[in-house]
């Protein structure tokens, strides 16, 4: 069975042969009969053939260019050298759109988390400043009210002071909880990296003649697929966040 690539190759060779013959003929006519109709016609045919050759070569290499653009996805390593990718098959388009949607949504989630954390940090800073000011104020009033007549007032102020200390302790707990933003963003980025890898793998598997390629270039293709599997495993294993909750984590001094 003649594949699409082979057909293109044969057509390319036939056209190249035609161009060569015509060019030789023109050269011969140029040397013998100047300005003949035959020479003008042969020049026209040459131009058409050259245009067809250019179009054919563009079609053959377009897929490879797309493949090159996909290569940097996994840790900047070229995983698919030598593969030509026809990214315009309907299925590839569908897969690419589906994955692009997921990536968009991950980006949106990251943006929402960042916005929420930024607002929380601003609120946190404000509450923290107010608590600190209130504590200073209570201390000052307590000093001013330190007489026997104001015993009740001093008692109330001390209770007020205890409340301020409790708020400060709660704020400390909040410092731990508010680090969720960083953990979530790192997890989202890691998931996006995994989707990028999956995207490139699917694009390459979903070629129209992949089965034939596997049969014809078995060792080479299998090695490439095996390399992809290793890379995917590595990305999956190197999780940036292992924490399951927002309990503070361990401390190790070396």
């Amino acid at each position: 069975m003649i594949t699409l690539d082979e057909k293109k190759k044969r057509m390319f060779l036939a056209l190249a042969g035609g161009v060569l013959v015509l060019t030789g003929f023109q050269f011969y006519r140029f040397l013998t009969v100047d300005g003949s109709i035959l020479q003008a016609m042969s020049i026209m045919i040459s131009i058409v053939l050259i245009a067809m050759l250019l179009k054919l070569s563009k079609t053959s290499y377009r897929g490879e260019i797309s493949a090159c653009q996909q290569r940097d996805v996994v840790d900047g390593n070229a995983l698919y050298e030598g593969f030509s990718l026809d990214s315009e098959t309907p299925r590839n388009k569908e897969v690419a759109e589906y994955l692009a949607n997921i990536k968009d949504e991950l980006g949106q989630a990251e943006q929402l988390v960042n916005d929420a954390v930024t607002n929380l940090v601003v609120n946190f800073g404000y509450i923290s400043e107010l608590t600190s000011s209130q504590r200073d104020m209570v201390l000052t009033v307590e000093k001013l009210a330190m007489t026997d007549d104001n015993a009740e007032v001093v008692k109330l102020l001390r209770r007020q002071m205890m409340m301020a200390k409790k708020i400060e302790r709660e704020l400390e707990t909040t410092v731990t909880s508010m680090q969720f933003g960083d953990l979530v963003v790192q997890l989202l980025k890691h998931t996006a990296r995994q989707i990028n890898t999956l995207d490139s793998v699917l694009q390459h598997i979903d070629q129209p003649n992949i089965q034939e390629k596997i049969i014809n270039q078995s060792d080479d293709t299998r090695n490439k697929i095996s390399n992809v599997k290793v890379k995917m495993k590595k990305i999956t294993q190197t999780r940036p966040v292992l924490q399951q909750g927002l309990q503070s984590s361990e401390v190790d001094l070396f």
């Binding site: 680090q179 960083d182 984590s249 001094l253």
Partner: protein
């Protein structure tokens, strides 16, 4: 008594703010850096008593920063603590080999952070 200065390095603005809040509240001077490169520039410009750095950062990561700081004479004996979401053993081993003083996994607890810093900064 002169305030001790801590260089806090993290690409996450919220984490930097939380670290700065905790440390300033405990009386430390804090210099903030957004990544390893920024930290290296600031480390060359200021004399700090401790470096607290994240690992995963753009431009220059925390391990590279650690490696470069340890090559500077003035930072050979300065405590460098890694504060990161990475709690995997392999990364920790790399950090230890590169000269990290300690390893704190995020999310950090302010009290634990201050205890650790108090232990190593003197």
């Amino acid at each position: 008594m002169e305030k001790k200065t801590i260089l806090a390095v993290d690409d996450s603005a919220s984490i930097r703010q939380m670290v700065a809040f905790t440390l300033r509240g405990a009386g430390y001077e804090v210099i903030e850096a957004v990544d390893g490169q920024d930290a290296l520039d600031k480390a060359n410009h200021y004399q700090v008593n401790l470096v607290l750095t994240d690992i995963n950062m753009p431009r220059m990561d925390g391990l590279k920063l650690l490696e470069l700081l340890r090559k500077l004479t003035s930072y050979q004996s300065i405590p460098i603590l890694m504060l990161t979401t990475e709690s995997g053993g392999e990364m920790k081993t790399k950090g230890r080999a590169a000269g990290a003083t300690g390893w704190l996994a995020k999310p950090f607890n302010p009290k634990s952070l201050l205890d650790v810093i108090g232990k190593v900064i003197n």
